[in-house]
Amino acid sequence: MPAAADAPLIAMRGVTKTYSGITALEDVGFSIAAGEAVSLAGENGSGKSTLIKILAGVEQRDSGEISFGGQPQNGLTPRTAAAAGVKVIFQDFSLFPNLTVAENIGFSAELGAGHRLVNRGRVRALAEATLQRLGVQIDLDARVESLPVAHKQLVAICRALATEARLIIMDEPTTALTGREVATLLGIIRRLKADGVAVLFVSHKLAEVLEVCEHVVVLRNGRKVAEGPAAEFDQAKLTRHMTGRDVADAPPEALPPDAPLLMAVRGLAKAGAFAAVDFDLHGGEVLGISGLLGSGRTSLAKALFGLVIPDTGSVRVDGRDVALGDPLAAAHAGIGYVPEDRLTEGLFLTQSILRNVGIGRLEAHGRAAGVLDLAGLWADATDWLKRLAVKAPRVTAEVRSLSGGNQQRVVLARWLSRSPRVLVLNGPSVGVDVGSKAEIHGIIRELSAQGLGVIVISDDLPELLTTCHRILVMKDGRITDELAGGTAEADLARRLAS
């Protein structure tokens, strides 16, 4: 037994976890030293979040050992984990939508300190200080439910950083963040490390991973397949370990000059969100839209699909005006929308995977008197699940049992099965691993080859550059710039920041 003094901060051995037959983790072991940042890498569904939940005491392992500072931990609960200094930024944020920003940030601290009475001043002060440390400005009294996703993520980060921690676990903390916030966060991680705090970092953005972590652990199908110092890994090698193969993203093929005009947006405006938006989309074109947080991209995307009612302007598809502010009219005109927040906006979590896809294609399988051709519907849905290579135990399983990336494909499958004319993808690869991401990019390319117009909204600059023919840059609700696809990444980053 090593003496407690030189025992690693956290050590795991043989950790195994199964969910009703599905093995999420099998015999995983590694350790994290104080002041060290370890990256946990792996494809969607490889077991990263599960491992984190076990460390945080949220889920119980089936077998294996975990020790904090040499002390074996049995029956870990969220409270004992927090007391031991383990703080977690959950992939789904785990915030309280009905409480204010201040309270969300301060709650765990109050709980951890064992106060019985709450002191609002104390809570506010802590929240304010933490927000300042991260250099973000969010109204302390706003209810979290009213915040955009990115702000929610920032609040979740603040909550974990608010109090003294020995290990901070971050499960994809940057999915909704743009370059600037990511940079700030990475800066904070460096400072934390310097203070002796350990970090367990999960991200599909491999560049970030390699930038900030000393050590890399790679999971595949719930098993540890590689481990070593970050210096020994590059993106390609990491990708190979994660997926078991090489993944290469090809640049988009050139758009044929005679591509027909598919969609024309003119003078679209909504007070406080976006203004004077004009653009055309041609058949087979992939159009990227990028911008900083709050630049109005999401509002614009929702407006295209009728979920936001614009004040003025017009959207025409195939030369016909689309009624604004009506998702049904938009869908009918052939516009599809894959939302950014798949858990609340995209999925019917407790329904089967099949139904989640099938709901998009009811009309096509309708028979007389509203009766469905169920066999056809399910065959169709199954076919799309296959085409998008959704990894699922059974197609009748609840969609919530899938990993994030597979869930995203389910939403995609739903829209693709409707054969839309224009597909608006808001963050198509948010929380999706490199392997799946490349496949989704492949799908996008394939779609455009079939003449579909695709609008991709993303913060992921390489993604935009490899998939899009053109990229629009938004700032303060206006389109300020336009670039061709295949431009250098640095160029796009500069234009975004300017």
């Binding site: 785990s94 709980l111 509002s299």
Partner: protein, 329 residues
Amino acid sequence: MKRLDFSRNETLVALVILGFCALATISDPSFLSMPTLTDLLRGGIVLGIFAVAAMVVLVSGGIDVSFTAIAAFAMYSTTLILVSLAPGLPWPLAFALSVGIGAALGAINGIFIAFFGLPTLIVTLGTLSIFRGFLLTFVGSKLISNLPQSMRDFSKQMLFRGTNADGSFFSLPLAFLALVGVVVLTWFILNRTLLGRSIFAIGGSVESARRIGVNVRAVQFFIYVYVGALAGLAGIIHASMARVANPFDLVGLELSVIAAVVLGGARLTGGVGTLTGTLLGVTLIVLVRNSLIVIGIPSTWQSVAIGVLILVGTGLPAWQAKRAAARAG
């Protein structure tokens, strides 16, 4: 002064109340009088305590329909115990007994909900039948109009009395203080203690609360015990003021109480609710129930009138919220 916030339920319900009072005053100028006020305050005591209890549950993301059965059970068995075993027990002890019985029954709800993890609506729908069935089968179904002296005494204690021009009295019973006490205590728990904030947190997201280490079971258990205790208090006050312990009473009120709470802005989805709103909701319901004759609505149309007011009272804020949501996208 902040400007009136028309997107808040509280403001809208307050406006509906004012409108209704104006209407009542126009049709009968003597509407604005002390007897009206004391009658309404008195009518709001039991409903108010119930509503506060229902609000706490709604905030936690649950729903409780069994509190009326708990109240009837606690009230009736306390009276029975007093009458048959301890006729001389002073009223504070009798009240404590009823509160205790209520808390014990609430604990049964709490066990099913917190420890077995069953859905709140279903558990309380079940215990509603169980408590009522047990009471009427095994405890008794005869009403007791010979209340023990201590309860009679309590019902005759007044905070103040006054005499109208025609020589009749108006008065506000001591029991009103119980409502005030319950409101203050609940306000303190909900807003000033970590327990209270945990109730809100659970209402926002149980899973998130669990993940940051809130002892969800303990909090839920507390909620249902607390609600049971409040129901026990409301029950014994009801019996004392009505000067009869009728085991058939109270059950059937639960949906109106929940309606009052939701009128006041509490969300059925949990996490949101205020005491101000709850009291305004109760005020509206009591006001409407007690003023239809004054306005001159014929008996045959009175339930239509109440229905319309519930719809207007909830419809305005709901419509407002929906428009705001549509504007924001």
